[in-house]
Point group: C2
Chain length 312, copies 2
C-alpha cells in the first residue's frame, strides 16, 4: 500500500547480490540457503530435515490499522509463514514471533492479534515458542516458522523438468479482488488466507511433485521464479479465476497463498484435494530460464515485488 | 532513543500475559518456550538440542542512521542474536535475516550492512541461510540465530540454587557510556559488541554453571529476571565498571552483552577467560523471587524495558 517509487534494484536482483556474497559451507547440515520458500537444515543424526522461513508484516505496507482487524493481522502473519512450509510439503513444528508495537497499539489490539495468531497456530499445531518485543513508530511483526520433512524429500523450486505439467491449486486473484473491493468473500479471503498444508504434504508424499512453491506474489512473478530456479521456460493458458476477479488479478495479484507445482506429464493428479481444485495450466519447456508464455505471448513477471518499490 | 511514554504494561508483564495464553505441548520436541534467552527444540532422533533466538533492530529505537554506520548496524544485529546463543552455552549453526528497507536506504548502505553482518558471521561460523526483504518507512531488521548444544545441557535462567555465587564477565556500563559520549573506546564497544560465545561454551561444558543469561538490558533488570526464573533473591556488591562509566551506567545500562552466571559457591572459577575478567559480585539467596539487594539496600530493576516505553 506504500506507493511504488523508482528503484535501482528489484527484489530478485537484490537477493541475487546477497546470495553471491554468502558462500554457504557444504558442511554443518546446511542443505539449502537463500532463494527458495524455506531454508533447509539437517540436524546431526536426525531422520528429518528442518525447514525455516521468515515473513514480515508491516503497518502501512502489508496491512492498515483502519481496515485490518487485529485478529486478521495475527492470523495472516502466521499464515504467510505456514504457506511457505506447505510449499515444501512440510509439517509445522513451531513458530517464533518478533513484534514491534506502535504507540497506538492498546492491550485490546494485542489480545486480538495474539488471538488470531494462536487460533491458526492451534489449528495447525504450530506452538509459539518465543520471540522478541520492541516498540517502534509503526506496528510490524516478523514470523519465523519451523517445519519438518523426512530427510531429503522437501519440495523445492528447482526440481521441475522439461515436459512436466504445471498446476495451481484453488482459484487465483481473490486476494487482489478483495483488496480492491474491501468486502465480501474476496475480502475475507484476503484477510484470512488458508495455508495449504495438507495439500503440500500430499504433493510431497503421494503425488511426488517435482517442484512446488506458494503463490504469494502473483502467478506471473512466482512462475518466473520457479522457471529461473529450474533453468526452464513455461507455457501456460489462463489460470482459474476467483469469482469476480479480473484476468489481471488472477495473473499478477499477490497473496493468494495457493500452491504452484509441477508433476510429470503422466502423473495422475486428482481434480481436487479435500475440496480444493487442482488445475493443470501448462507445461515446462526447454528454453530461456525464467521465460513464461501465456497463450503464446510472453508474460511479464508483473507480480508484487516487495523490493522494487523501495530502493531508490 | 524513542522517548519513554506512559505505559499500561511492562515487557515482563506483557510476556507473562502471552505465556499464559500459550500452552506449550509436552510433546513434539518443545523443551523450553517463551521466557529465556532462546527457545529450545529437540529434533527427533538427534543428539543435540537446537536453540533459537530472534532480535529486532529498529531505526530510531535501536540505532540512528546519523550516528550508526551501516556496517555497525549489520554487526550489531547479528551480535545481539549470537549473545543469546552464548548465554545458553551454544555453538552457532546458522542465521536468517528479515530486513525492511526505508526509502533513504541506498545500495551502498545495503552493502555496508551486509558487510558488517557477514564479517561477524564469518568469524563465528554462522552462515546466513535465508530471510525476507520488504520496504517500510523506517529501516529495521530481525535476526534469527540457531545454535546447538549437546542434548539437555543448555544453560538456562532457572537453574540457580540458593547459595550459588553470582558472576559477571567483563566490565559493565561501557555501552551506555559510549551512547552518551558518542566517541572513544566506549562508543566502539556500543557499536561492535563481542558475543561471548567461547565463554558460554566454557561455562556450560567445563565450569558447569547452574544458570546464565546475557546482559542486554542492564544488570539490575537482567539479574531480577534470573532471580524470578530461579525463584530466588540475590545479594550483590557493586559490579566491575567499564573505564569512565558511572555506577548507574554499570548497574542499569543496557547492551553490554556480557554474561551473567551462577555457579556453586565452591566452584573454581578462573579470574579471567581468554582475557575477559570473570568477577564474583554476590550470591543467590532464598527470599522473595526477583528481589535484588545491592550492598544491603533494595535494587530496583531499572534497566532498559523495551516495552514499557511503548504501550499507552
Amino acid at each position: 500500500m506504500v506507493k511504488p517509487q523508482k528503484s535501482a534494484a528489484s527484489e530478485l536482483e537484490t537477493i541475487e547480490r546477497i546470495r553471491r556474497r554468502v558462500a554457504l559451507p557444504q558442511t554443518g547440515g546446511l542443505v539449502l540457503g537463500i532463494g527458495d520458500d524455506c531454508a533447509i537444515f539437517r540436524p546431526r543424526g536426525a531422520p528429518e530435515d528442518l525447514l525455516f522461513t521468515t515473513d514480515m508484516l508491516i503497518e502501512g505496507v502489508h496491512f492498515r490499522r483502519e481496515t485490518h482487524g487485529a485478529g486478521d493481522v495475527g492470523w495472516k502473519a502466521l499464515a504467510r509463514g505456514l504457506s511457505d512450509i506447505a510449499a515444501m510439503g512440510g509439517e509445522p513444528r513451531f513458530c517464533l514471533l518478533s513484534l514491534a508495537v506502535a504507540p497506538w497499539v492498546e492491550t485490546s489490539w494485542l489480545d486480538g492479534f495474539y488471538g488470531g495468531l494462536l487460533r491458526l497456530a492451534g489449528r495447525t499445531r504450530t506452538p509459539l515458542m518465543g520471540g522478541d518485543l520492541a516498540r517502534a513508530e509503526k506496528a510490524m511483526c516478523d514470523i519465523v516458522v519451523c517445519g519438518a520433512v523426512p530427510r531429503g524429500t522437501a519440495l523445492r523450486r528447482d526440481g521441475a523438468r522439461a515436459g512436466d505439467a504445471i498446476y495451481v491449486s484453488g482459484a487465483l486473484g481473490g486476494s487482489a479482488l478483495g483488496l480492491s473491493t474491501g468486502g465480501g468473500r474476496a475480502w475475507r479471503r484476503h484477510l484470512r488466507p488458508q495455508p495449504r498444508l495438507a495439500l503440500g504434504r500430499f504433493l510431497r508424499a503421494r503425488l511426488r511433485a517435482t517442484a512446488a512453491m506458494d503463490l504469494s506474489d502473483g502467478l506471473s512473478l512466482d512462475l518466473h521464479r520457479l522457471c529461473l530456479a529450474s533453468g526452464l521456460s513455461a507455457e501456460i493458458g489462463a489460470p482459474p479465476r476467483f469469482p469476480g476477479a479480473t484476468r489481471e488479478q488472477a495473473l499478477h495479484g499477490g497473496e493468494d497463498y495457493e500452491l504452484l507445482f509441477t508433476a510429470p506429464a503422466r502423473a495422475r493428479v486428482p481434480r481436487d484435494f479435500e475440496g480444493v481444485p487442482l488445475t493443470r495450466i501448462g507445461a515446462m519447456r526447454p528454453g530461456p530460464p525464467g521465460a513464461v508464455e501465456l497463450e503464446g505471448a510472453p508474460l511479464a513477471p508483473l507480480g508484487y515485488d516487495h523490493f522494487r518499490a523501495t530502493v531508490e
